[in-house]
Symmetry: C2
Subunit: 392 residues, 2 copies
């Protein structure tokens, strides 16, 4: 049978993540690869109690069709938290609950992007976003990240040069680099976008995962109608329940709503009710504090191990939150090659390539410390260090 | 702020369903409108027990990220049921779990449809499908339904005339018409599609809701690689959990998988595990038998009431399963006008318009009998009958 597929269906290839998944079946394999939260941090008993409560008290209403925008209590919780914690006024009726914030990216693509449009993203950037935007057949231009955020000069040059429809940024504990924008840079980016009248897509799933200080205000705080802000409970509570959200101006919200209505009607109302009961019945901030301590400690252990076992020629990017450490090998060393060497000694990570647009055999790689024990982090870094030493 | 939306974002309008929702807050309103299953049929206690079991025995694995294709046990259940009940061989690895079968329609659009393509659908057809396909900027051509299925002569003429990329059909207890294709017509449609080498999208969420006899084999049984078959637990267990599926040839499956990966990674693993535990631990067929009895009885009551209270000039289409009765008013009577009259006497239904492509002020309407009590069905039909009588 000769199928007549759409052009866009030819654009997205198998992601490298599928390749990595093959090796994760073996429990002996030490994985620094996934963006998976540590399952021991899931509030399992609390969610179980919430599920019981939902089934018992909300009867079958929770099993019925629900409205597209999502559970009102949940949207109010998110709205209130933005107001109190991030100095951001986002009314509950401008928050759309999505199946993970990944789904919001798809709807943003659907609402804004046409073949030939240009979108600006960071280099490196989140591979899932690159995959989604690629499926909309657009020209993806990149702007380099510096240690305190995006390169402002390059950003303005490329805005002028390409007139992008959207700019996609992950300003807090970025995936994959772990980099966070300084307060000054956030403000400067906002000023630039206002000056050139560009819409920001701000992806902010890691903002609560800071190891010291407090949550940083999103760039959206300074932008109002010019921004679309994405959030998620995947990194802080549970990714398997697929609950994220997107907030936007009324006009954009309406379009995103229609996109979701035509795509899956609504996200699981059962999961939303379990989650919102958990959020109202338990101390979410206490949970987050424990999560931060855990990740800060594992981050520290991995950094220490890198200092001991990696050659001095290896560069490690500074980060102070999130789930990732970004590593730059000496020039000319391919991290994909290193990946296949590492697989032989039962260590996996994500090579840099999928975080770039059209670059191959990069010398960068992403290490996640979230999902392993301290012992296995030490052992894995030791093995990787040996391999890098040999390849220099 | 002037947003530069994509062309496709201008195409889909607010659906009439949003308009109807406004009136459903009032508990006094008798609703024949939604495609909502009757919540008293949800296996609430069984699902609650399954949820407990999942939280207790599957620990936090169920809260973690999962694979895009969906839960393997669930896909095996679906595959086995197709084999035993419908004489259809669909391997579990060619079944993709989606967030309701609505989501599968979106991915089919993403994988196949480009602006200017033509797709053939029934007239009338499911409004959610019309909305989804419209968002892909395609030319939607329609073929009239007869009492035993689609008009074969018109179907062949339009296939030859428009060379459609896909044909979208709902052969069992169609939404909105309630019509089911005869066995002969199913076979004849399959032969036509083979002859002209067209891909069928077969939407089959109501197939288990027959009131007598047994489940009818989908047209896909005769088509193999030329068909894409959609299914759902929304009408039989719970729509709020958003669990549906799509099965297709390996080549098409791969494309749908990538579309889902780039769109929401995977559907809720918690919901999938609760559902599959329910399916393996309880007697699904016993549940379905009760559901069928309930709907058959409510269908019967509504039909009887229509015979008593509607004028003879009103035509009612035959149906023998599903959730809907399709009504044709005498020519020249607008069902949208009737809707706003009916709202005043606290009865709502869905006027025909949204089930057509580009037709307005149609004289047809859809009545759902699933979600009301016998008393309210009688009372609602009586009030509608009065209004129709007055408008003749």
């Amino acid at each position: 049978m000769d199928y007549r597929f759409a052009r866009r269906a030819q654009l997205t290839q198998d992601s490298f993540i599928t390749e990595i998944f093959k090796y994760l079946q073996d429990k002996e394999v030490i994985s620094f690869s996934g963006g998976f939260p540590n399952p021991s941090t899931f509030p399992l008993l609390e969610l179980q109690a919430s599920a019981q409560k939902v089934f018992t008290h909300e009867g079958s209403s929770v099993l019925q069709y629900a409205t597209t925008n999502g559970d009102l209590d949940l949207r109010r919780f998110i709205s209130e938290r933005y107001r109190v914690r991030q100095d951001l006024e986002v009314p509950a009726d401008q928050i759309l609950i999505t199946s993970g914030s990944q789904q919001a990216l798809d709807y943003i693509g659907k609402v804004f992007l046409e073949p030939g449009d240009t979108i600006l993203i960071e280099e490196p950037s989140y591979l899932g976003a690159i995959q989604t935007f690629t499926s909309y057949d657009v020209d993806i231009q990149t702007v380099k990240l510096q240690e305190n955020g995006i390169d402002l000069v390059e950003l303005e040059t490329k805005i002028v040069q390409f007139n992008p429809k959207l700019i996609y940024l992950i300003p807090s504990f970025q995936n994959p680099s772990g980099i966070s924008y300084s307060q000054e840079k956030r403000f400067a980016v906002a000023e630039l976008l206002k000056k050139h009248d560009v819409v920001l897509v701000e992806d902010d799933p890691y903002n609560e995962l800071y190891y010291e200080g407090n949550v940083q205000h999103p760039i959206s705080t300074h932008l109002k109608d010019r921004s679309i802000l994405l959030g998620s409970f995947s990194k802080t509570i549970s990714p398997g329940m697929r609950v994220g959200w997107v907030s936007a101006s009324k006009e954009v919200y309406k379009k995103l709503f229609t996109a979701k209505e035509a795509s899956d009607l609504h996200s699981s109302s059962l999961d939303q009710r379990i989650l919102v009961n958990y959020l109202y019945d338990y101390d979410y901030d206490d949970h987050l504090n424990k999560l931060r301590e855990r990740y800060a400690s594992q981050h520290h252990i991995m950094l220490e191990a890198i200092q001991i076992y990696f050659p001095n020629e290896v560069k490690v990017y500074p980060s102070n939150g999130g789930m990732f450490i970004w590593v730059e090998l000496p020039e000319g060393i391919s991290s994909v090659k290193l990946f296949y060497e590492a697989v032989k000694v039962k260590v996996v990570f994500v090579p840099g390539d999928p975080f770039y647009v059209n670059e191959q055999d990069t010398n960068t790689l992403r290490l996640s410390f979230a999902n392993e024990t301290p012992e296995r982090i030490l052992e894995g870094i030791k093995r990787l260090g040996n391999l890098i030493q040999q390849s220099i």
